[in-house]
Symmetry: C2
Subunit: 346 residues, 2 copies
């Protein structure tokens, strides 16, 4: 379909354009975009998992520094990451947009392109949504649905005292990437520090921020194999998300901070900019890695299977009784894990 | 639970407050608010219906003239009406809010109170959501899920040539109520016209706008009894929504405009303010009545059962071939139905 270029946005024309562009048959989909509701088939042998996010211009993204394609991509990835943390297969997507007059149709198409680029590897189908004008700012609401087998999901509330704490991937990269993007004009004019950070490390960190990867396959593996006792995705940062998991499980935690996995690029960034890489890893949000707990009995199976599948997982601590609190240990010294969770209301 | 009064909004505290206030067990709900996703059980004998809306301050509501409780109530009702038009039982609700600094916690609680007041008669459970800051304006996103029996739903695409066109209730009341609310300061200072409109008629019209009723029971009846061939809810107005139904069904329509059901209050309003009541009925959105089509063979069963159940339905026209277009007939004269659908992008 030919794209309209820069005509004023017309709600129905836009919906029809997107319907033609992205509507396709998907397993279990009875009726997608174009009726009062989307209709899907279900099965008694499955649980449905639903997650929703509302992203606001100036809070979650800045149209002056981020491309609409990346905004869409990251928004979808944040929701895919929520389903990964449940061990669910992502299936269906609903998108609602409130669009200010300053946005032109090609930008809206770019946003959808990013959303669908994130979803396509998982076979997620766009089944519905809503579009509206906005007096001020672009707002994007996503609802994502996924499935697991019945009575088989990763909850936040299953961690037991003595369980080992793991994370996937490396932490802090997304925050370092964001800082590089926002510092980029300064860095370009005064280059002494920048010279210590190679071009490939810069690109790695920026890519980790702009195009993160939800750990959907890792979540499915942990859930199918009954390998984890609890899980959450790292969207608010290790400090905040570990707190959520502990609260729901009624436990405390001891994090061995020297074991937190860091990428070579994050180490190089921390050295170049004289910041603590551990601090980046603890406070940085939007890594979209999985934080999960596992019984010590599962340790060898977990670590062997992860190696065989090429999944990076790292043991970073131990679940303790609730009265222990949430502590961080480094070189024999124990202190409370800094409370630096990302909160939107600031 | 005691309500916090006017502390600055804290995302997690707010979520926890709402969780305690509205979380309850609901049939099929495995896990509600508090994990990465909400989890529900499903059944192979059912279809799931999903609808989502994003409402923007200054576009869909004005905090200067509308109470937060009414904003929440109407937002939920709009989505309940979408499910009514599918013939579905509403089940689960997800709410996402972007909240500017100017909004205080009690207003957010009032908004939720309105949302839940609309949902409670149907046993709908709040199972998840998201909250965020907003740089400009209050934004509210709702996702509502409902169920029908498998292969049993009211779609827009089933209308056949010769089918009769019906609407529930009366049309135009919501627009008249909105005009009364926005004209109220003028009306108070210059009373001659106002005197022609009784207090009870004013109250009726304003109530129809502020606290509309989705026709959930009527939708279930039409669907269970296989009485309708197609259905849509009247949110954009008769002119726009009949067009949607005809487009999806590949048909035209002839509306007998003198048969459009009008309330005595709407008649009185039209007389007092020298406007056409038919025009109000055709162009007015947000009545949340059902527009549906039925085979002429179903006519006697439909009208008999509606009387027995106390549902008001009115036959307003006939489905014609697509090439007939969408026409309006009055006293022997036929002309195109005015194209006055409510579009958000203006």
């Amino acid at each position: 379909m030919a794209l309209p270029t820069d005509k004023p946005l017309q709600e129905f024309a836009l919906i029809q354009g997107l319907q033609h562009r992205y509507a396709r048959h998907a397993p279990g989909l009875v009726h997608g975009i174009g009726d009062d509701a989307a209709v899907v088939e279900t099965s008694s042998s499955r649980w449905w998992h639903l997650t929703t996010d509302l992203l606001a211009e100036g809070i979650h993204f800045d149209l002056k520094t981020a491309a609409p394609e990346s905004i869409g991509y990251r928004a979808a990835m944040a929701n895919l990451s929520d389903l990964a943390a449940m061990g669910a297969v992502p299936r269906y997507l609903l998108i609602a947009l409130a669009i200010p007059k300053t946005i032109r149709q090609p930008q809206v198409y770019d946003l959808y392109r990013g959303l669908m680029r994130a979803c396509r590897p998982y076979g997620v189908a766009l089944i519905g949504g809503d579009t509206s004008a906005s007096k001020a700012g672009l707002f994007l609401s996503i609802t994502l649905m996924g499935t697991t087998a019945k009575r088989r999901a990763l909850f936040r509330h299953g961690a037991k005292v003595g369980d080992q704490i793991y994370v996937s991937g490396t932490l802090g990269d997304s925050l370092a990437g964001l800082q590089l993007l926002t510092k980029s004009t300064i860095a370009r004019s005064s280059t002494p520090r920048r010279s210590q950070l190679s071009r490939s490390h810069r690109q790695f960190l920026i890519r980790r921020h702009v195009h993160p990867t939800a750990r959907v396959a890792e979540g499915l593996w942990l859930n199918h194999g009954r390998l984890a006792t609890a899980a959450i995705d790292l969207s608010d940062g290790l400090s905040g998300d570990l707190r959520h998991l502990c609260k729901e499980s009624g436990v405390g935690a001891e994090v061995e901070s020297d074991n937190i996995p860091l990428s070579p690029a994050c180490h190089a960034y921390a050295k170049a900019y004289h910041v603590s890489p551990t601090q980046l890893a603890i406070t940085g949000g939007e890594d979209y890695e999985l934080l999960f707990t596992a019984s010590p009995r599962s340790r060898s199976a977990l670590e062997r299977q992860a190696r065989a599948r090429g999944y990076r997982i790292t043991r970073i601590g131990t679940i303790r009784p609730q009265k222990f609190g949430i502590q961080m240990t480094s070189q024999g010294r124990t202190r409370p894990l800094p409370l630096t969770s990302y909160e939107h209301f600031r």
